[in-house]
Point group: C2
DNA sequence: GTTTGCGTTCGAGCGCGCTCCAGCACCTAC
DNA sequence: GTAGGTGCTGGAGCGCGCTCGAACGCAAAC
């Protein structure tokens, strides 16, 4: 039953303390436990949840959709089919995005080669410039 | 020596006509040729360049950096080493981003499987309902 | 007792990347 | 002549996702 300050959570998640508080305000987090003087004390469960949020954001899910998902989770097991649909749809978008990225990467590699660099040996010093 | 209206270019690139004009205004495009009545007539070279811009944006390059790159290209062959550096750095970011995306995708897949196979959830905002 | 450090709230502000609008100009068809 | 379609310009506005600031509270250190 480890507890963390908001600062520690910020460090662990890569979010800013501001953002974490904002996430709570807009309903992405359940009310966080407080210590006697009113400071947030995050538990492991909170960290896990934040971790999921961070990954959803990192894959481009809009905040509004994360709110929707959060609501569904809060609403209980009956919403699992819809949660599944939501995540599956998001997964499709991520896959599509990955494909696009790879495609663009190919052009990038090509251009880098035409400039005389070799993508696979890019860390070499400028010996062949 | 094909020519295209801004509408055709918008269709081909997926950008809006507004965005294309804006790109020109902020210096991402060289001045585009005009027909006698002042309308833009894009050539194949313009399309190629726009295509690069679109791909750079699609991989998350900030507009400011595209402006920088454009300046370098305009400044002539002497800037090729710096262009190379810029593109190579961007390539690294794209690779890192791809890695992140794949990682997040794994969690997504896992969660989707748990919704398909098990009733209980592992992550949740807080307590069971 | 006061300074320092860390946290709190609430609301305002910001940076980015567009997006839209008003008002105008031109060309073609009717 | 006029209606409709297309495009022009300059500038204002917008949605998103934070980000910051002011004013405050508590508590340990000096």
């Amino acid at each position: 039953m480890t507890e963390y300050t908001i600062r520690q959570v910020a460090d662990k998640t890569g979010l800013s303390m501001h953002t974490i508080r904002w996430y709570e305000r807009i309903g992405l987090l359940d009310e966080i436990e407080r210590s006697t003087d009113g400071r947030r004390r995050f538990g492991d469960r909170d960290l896990d949840w934040l971790d999921l949020l961070v990954k959803l954001r990192a894959t481009g899910m809009p905040v509004a959709q994360m709110q929707r998902y959060t609501e569904l989770v809060r609403a209980g097991a009956a919403t699992e089919p819809e949660r599944l649909r939501l995540l599956a749809a998001h997964r499709e978008r991520v896959l599509a995005d990955l494909a696009t990225q790879r495609e663009c990467l190919a052009l990038l590699d090509y251009k880098i080669m035409t400039y005389g660099g070799t993508p696979r040996e890019r860390h070499r010093p400028k010996e062949d410039q």
